[in-house]
Amino acid sequence: MMNLLSNLLIPSLVLIIIVYGLYKKINLYDNFIEGAKESFEIVLSIFPNLLAMILAINIFLNSDVIGLVLEKIKDYIKFPTEIIYLSMIRPISGSSSIAILNRIFEKFNPDTFIGTLASVIQGANDTTLYVLTLYFGSVGIKKIKYALWLSLLTDLFAIIISFFLVSIIF
């Protein structure tokens, strides 16, 4: 049922847009082409930003600094390090955090406390750094003021809230 609904989402969205355009008697084909053309300009402006960020993030992840630090402090904290690791990678890299989540699921079942918490941290957060680079980079903004701190703080808040909410359920 859920599957059918989500499969219907995009086709019905397209249909609604087309039918409404038809009703308003606009030239559907020409407008589609006009809009699609704009993608060239956008892609050109985001590619250098994407390249720069992926380069830096991959070099950073290769060194595994976060893993190294966590290994050192592992014995002092009672909290599962996997969760901390995931929380720190989540805003930096979407594909890496999925890989970490996969490892967590292999070790703990997704329905356990850790499995659930990890799922919520993954699901309720975004790749903040990627969004920031892409959006600001594409319009050539150099000074982003408090945007980075604010969004990282919001991520931290989301992680803490996730912990409390999941604790209540278990």
């Binding site: 290769n62 329905d111 659930t116 920031l132 903004i141």
Partner: protein, 193 residues
């Protein structure tokens, strides 16, 4: 700021790669990054063209304006700097809606169009405006209704109720959005120079 983060990531990354003896991998990674980002662009590009094409129809027909009309009372409070009926409002609405329904690949082109349109209102083209930062917060804390990738990954690992986390995710993103927007208000007042 992005400049500092970028430099920090590279320097720390290379330094610790040397310490942990991962220099050989580092060589591959530097060149792989170029390939990965190109692959990523080639994946984003066609989808972006598709959505921008469809959205253009919605925009010209006035449907996009209709949608943003419903969200206007809410956005008026969030973005007081945007003049009534400005096109950025309709892009922001489209981005917000596609985000909420988990259409990640559709929300990015709308988001970039929104940023471009917000920059037209911006006095200093190189510095982020308050509306832009509010918009970014709305995006990074993004309200998610159906986290599809996550559910399928949970299914893969034999979860008994793979979709059960959807509600908590929604609740967390909602609270985080409220938190982020509230802080945004406080920060922007402080930042007035």
């Amino acid at each position: 700021m992005i400049n500092k983060v970028w430099t920090f990531l590279i320097i720390i990354g290379i330094f610790f790669s040397v310490i942990t003896n991962r220099i050989e991998m580092l060589n591959n990674i530097i060149f792989d990054s170029a390939k990965i980002s190109f692959d990523m662009i080639t994946r984003i590009f066609p989808v972006m063209a598709l959505w921008l094409g469809i959205m253009k129809i919605a925009q010209v027909s006035g449907l996009l304006n209709k949608i943003s009309f419903f969200l206007e009372p809410f956005f008026k409070k969030l973005f007081p700097e945007i003049p009534k009926g400005h096109e950025s409002l309709s892009y922001i609405s489209a981005n917000f809606i596609s985000n909420a329904f988990g259409l990640g690949n559709a929300s990015t082109p709308f988001g970039i169009k929104a940023m471009k349109s917000l920059n037209e209102l911006n006095k200093d083209k190189k510095t982020a405006s308050r509306s832009m930062i509010t918009f970014i917060i709305l995006n990074t804390s993004g309200l998610t209704i159906v986290p599809t990738t996550l559910i399928s990954l949970r299914m893969l690992h034999n979860s008994k109720s793979p979709a059960s986390i959807s509600f908590i995710c929604l609740l967390v993103t909602f609270l985080a959005t409220v938190f982020g927007l509230t802080l945004d208000r406080l920060f922007s007042k402080r930042y007035k120079e």
